[in-house]
Symmetry: none
Subunit: 134 residues, 2 copies
DNA sequence: CGAATCCTCAACCATATGGTTGAGGATAGC
DNA sequence: GCTATCCTCAACCATATGGTTGAGGATTCG
């Protein structure tokens, strides 16, 4: 029942550190070596190397060894899985759409599917929410 | 320098564990007590309680103490921030790989190794990326 | 060749995570 | 009041994370 998703674990974990998000952000502008990725970060090269490995482990970075340097490229496919997971909750923040649009500096999505809060078919033992009425 | 985002750190970290994602999934169907959240998980109540606290810390769960039970409600707003961050990378997995190539360094070769950054003083071309600061 | 460069590896350290158990505070129910 | 229930807290343990330094393999350059 408790469907395990080690892949999602790895992706979210990789994103849970600012240094790694920073690396991805910079990789979005083009391939970079480990040394270049490490440069702006205030940590040793070895530490940055570990972060790269975490990203690689999550499938977010692809490494190509070119002689003595390791060139890293962004592989964003795994992020799609993360977004897919998050998308499920979009309907729940509709009450705060304004907040969402404030963060997204882009025009909001038209209207994906349903914007209604939970009324769907999926009603997994919706317990009476004890204490709801006191 | 490396702009810190403790909020994003907390959200992504909260999502990086299957038990916590499972909790959010179930909370999407309605408010649940800590005990109910813990029930399907194969761990002690105390352990589940810690997970709830992690979610709470990330702002993903709102707790209302009702007598002796703690009722948890989903607060999905922080997820919007996570999605906003991820959305930036949509262009890269959206079959618009050409966009990547375009942003890629000046060398037009498809081989990322061509991103050969100078011999001595490399100058990684920094295209505008969100929140880029170094 | 010899030296500089890029990067990983291994050892080490401090702290965080994720789990357990046991104690117990606060309520609810009898 | 007494007891059962719900949940947190504290202590403890094992392992993971995130950082350091030092050694050194592999390349590239002079």
């Amino acid at each position: 029942m408790v469907e395990d998703s080690p892949e999602l674990d790895a992706v979210f974990h990789a994103l849970a550190h600012d240094a790694r998000r920073e690396m991805l952000r910079r990789l979005a502008t083009g391939a970079l070596t480990v040394g270049q990725l490490a440069e702006p970060l205030l940590m040793s090269l070895a530490a940055a190397s570990k972060h790269v490995k975490v990203l690689e482990n999550a499938g977010l970075v692809e490494r190509t060894v070119m002689g003595r340097r390791h060139v890293c490229r962004l592989r964003s496919a795994p992020l799609a899985g993360a977004v897919a997971w998050l998308r499920f909750y979009e309907r729940f923040w509709d009450e705060r759409i304004d907040a969402l649009e404030r963060v997204l500096d882009r025009p909001p999505a038209p209207d994906p599917a349903q914007a209604r809060p939970g009324t769907s078919d999926e009603t997994p033992s919706r317990s009476p929410a004890p204490g709801e009425a006191s």
